[in-house]
Amino acid sequence: MTLAQHSPTPSHGSSHAAPHAAPHAALSRRHLLTTGAAGTAAATGGLLLSAGAADARSGGGGGGRQGRLPRKVDVVVVGAGISGLVATRELLEQGLDVLCVEARDRVGGRVLNHELRSGGVIEAGGAFVGPTQDHILALAKELKVRTFLEYNEGNSVYISSLTGRQEYSGTVPPDPTILPDAAILLTRLDSMAAEIDVSAPWSHPSALEWDAMSLGEFIRRNALNSSGVGNLIKSWTQPGFGADPDELSLLFVLWYIACSGNETNVGTFSRNSDTAGGAQESRIIGGSQLIPLRLARKLGDAVALDAAVKRIEQKDGRVVVRTRRGTVRAKRVVVACPPPMVLDIDWFPRLPVRRTQLLRHMDMGQLMKCDAVYETPFWREDGLNGFGINDAGAARAVFDNSPASGDPGVLLAFVGGSTWRRYGPLSRKERRKAVLEGFAAMFGEKALKPIEYTEQDWTKERWTEGGPTAFHAPGTLTDFGPAIRQVFGRVHWAGTETSTYWSGYMDGAVRAGQRAAIEVGERL
């Protein structure tokens, strides 16, 4: 089992407060300009500029969407993450007049590139793509964004508080204290997930029973060494959900596994968790944010940044969307934001009770990504692939996060769930020390001396409030889940959490955007 983080997506695009200063704007723009698009950059740079700068470019008015917003369009899309951008693109292709409003001064939502001081680009947000994620792969191909295989040669490392450090190949660490339990448990999870309708997990005959139980409880009931195998599963849930097994509804986890496939391939735990043949198989050359950046470039002035939505009113057969940059009237609205952001919007009329309850019960995961940069990926010379699992410490799930060239070498720790709760509140210095010690325990003393250290705490992101995805606590999916895609008057819902396959991933974001655009198109 190559336990790993997946690739979250949508964006943010709402709320009352002014957006934070985005430290990535200039970087992103520079990145855009260096990705082979110099010829078009002049025409598209406005996408990545702050509103003020963009206003200046357009003369400060005149209806250009980098200046004053248009008064009226057919559809407003809220959020310029992948899902919102895809919905915008699909609606434009239907011949509709569309405006995509984004709270931040960048596009991409939970997909964010980070340019290293030592050269190269890594992802601070969603990063991986893998087999059966056909929609994001097709979009990447269309945008001439290429992928590369995640480095996966050599052994992985497993550290157990009981049995110590081991190197291993294959999927599940060869820990005799957990191996039998893990094999039975994973087979059972796959078999239960195969019965789940990905479009309506709450309709399964055992849905109530499974939803009433946490994944942790299920493990305790079905494993001989439940703490051992529970710890192993934690190394999957913390990066994957930003949560621990006890926080997750079993039904939700089964649905998530069922979603880890497509219409022709049944979802499995291993496809979700593995590197080779799984969701962590590949990454994007130049960083995953290239996808929303290039898509936004194609959309031109249909995307307006720094336009946080404050209020959405439905009245007189129209929707009035009040943003930080002005008010726009539309026939329909697509909301493609993380669930907490939707609750931040002032709705008139109020959201239906069931939807409000649903959103209140969809918790964003707690997750940060901590990267240490080295002159070279030295662990590769030792026959290690850079992947590691530890049942304790700050670095519980570790990946080789080096750029495609392997220069420089980068190790990535996902710090999620209870590990985040322990290490997140520490000072950066203390956390850095703990993470590097975790790397050193896996890959040796060289790991203690990186040339650069960087971290991204998604819980502190004003327009996301967590990551990598929203999850369901026990007892909430059956009660409120059916509202997930239910249209509210003239408002439709996108965002990766609303997808039927690869929910929580970039692929789910694309799917959700396409589905929402179809819904809107059939009503206009």
């Binding site: 195969a194 479009s199 309506a200 219409e263 022709t264 239910q486 396409q514 179809i518 059939e522």
Partner: protein
């Protein structure tokens, strides 16, 4: 077709399989850049739980719909929606079913001119419409008790619905009034294997129907048939047998090729095949796969109770129901290349309910 009946008599029918089957074609996957060969089969989409898809409807909105024909206790039947490339979009649970009353199912049989799906509920004998835009259901009519609405077609006078349970074709007017339009010995099947597919051909003013078993004495009772029934005024003319199937074929839903006029019939029975029939001559001109029974079609999922052939481009979509084996991993919509486009179902302006 009816799943329970199929299971209960599968063994009985198996005994009559010694009869010869016609020469058959083989499947070959297309090489890169080449058009696929005839009968090349791929998986369009697996059908999520409760699975057991029945009929596939290709909508005028260019999307694809299928209902689930055999949901167990506690689980409602569903209607699934896909894009024409096979991306799952949405699903709707069917309201008003008795979820504790045993297996229950629906079939998306047609659509109205305005785009509402016509959904037949086999256990409650209801004819429903589903507005996919708003997710709203409406009960249009209820057939007489014991009826098992199976397939439907629009024709002058309303919606014509085959009754799998009673050897009858019902006519449902636009106001929802139900009348018995045709009752004929040719529709009396053996052991409950009754009338299945139906299509109205306006140019000929006649219907084509499939009958899973014929108990008229003209053939072995395990043989099914393709029937033709002219429309004379608003009344049915004499029933004509166009073609007789092999034993245990159990002909089910079908599609009609636009260029050739050939009828592609799915055999939901033990032979697990698709036959191509020339209705002008009554000849079976082709059949797939080469080796019947096991349903090996070259795709990941073999034919396992294939129950319809609905045209999408130059392919037919086949609902793979696994009615006998009950293997959920075979519940899928398969796509079979046939090399010609299909004749669109008759959908007049009056194809709607008041």
């Amino acid at each position: 077709m009816r799943r329970l009946a199929l299971r209960s008599v599968a063994g009985l029918l198996a005994g009559s399989l010694a009869l010869l089957l016609p020469p058959v074609a083989t499947s070959a996957a297309a090489r890169d850049g080449e058009a696929p060969e005839k009968w090349t089969t791929t998986v369009f989409a697996r059908v999520p739980s409760p699975g057991a898809p029945a009929y596939v409807h290709v909508h005028t909105n260019k999307r694809v719909y299928a209902g689930t024909y055999a949901a167990p206790d506690g689980q409602p039947s569903k209607v699934f929606e896909w894009t024409r490339s096979g991306t799952l979009l949405r699903s709707w649970a069917v309201p008003g079913q008795d979820l504790e009353g045993g297996e229950h199912g629906v079939q998306v049989a047609a659509q109205t001119r305005s785009g509402r799906l016509v959904v037949l509920d086999t256990t409650t004998s209801r004819i429903l419409t589903l507005d996919v835009t708003r997710g709203r259901w409406r009960t249009i009519a209820t057939l007489p008790e014991g009826s098992v609405p199976n397939y439907a077609t629009w024709a002058p006078g309303g919606l014509y619905v085959t009754d799998y349970g009673d050897g009858v074709v019902h006519r449902v007017t636009r106001r929802g009034k139900v009348t018995e339009w045709l009752r004929d010995p040719a529709l009396d099947g053996l052991l409950g294997f009754g009338t299945t597919g139906i299509r109205y051909l306006p140019e000929e003013r006649s219907f084509l129907l499939t009958q899973q078993t014929l108990s008229t004495g003209d053939a072995l009772p395990t043989n099914g048939a393709l029937l033709r029934v002219p429309l004379e005024g608003r009344a049915p003319g004499d029933v004509e047998v166009v073609w007789t199937s092999q034993p245990t074929d159990l002909p089910d839903g079908f599609g009609i090729g636009r260029r050739t006029g050939h009828v592609y019939v799915a055999m939901v029975g033990l032979t697990n095949r698709i036959a191509e029939i020339d209705p002008a001559t009554g000849e079976e001109v082709d059949s797939f796969p080469a080796v019947p029974l096991v349903g090996e079609n070259g795709s990941e999922i073999p034919f396992d109770s294939p129950c319809n052939a609905t045209f999408l481009g130059k392919t037919v979509l086949v609902a793979n129901q696994s009615a006998i084996q009950g293997d959920a991993s075979h519940h899928a919509v398969l796509r079979v290349h046939v090399g010609e486009r299909g004749l669109a179902p008759y959908l007049p302006k009056k194809a709607r309910f008041r």
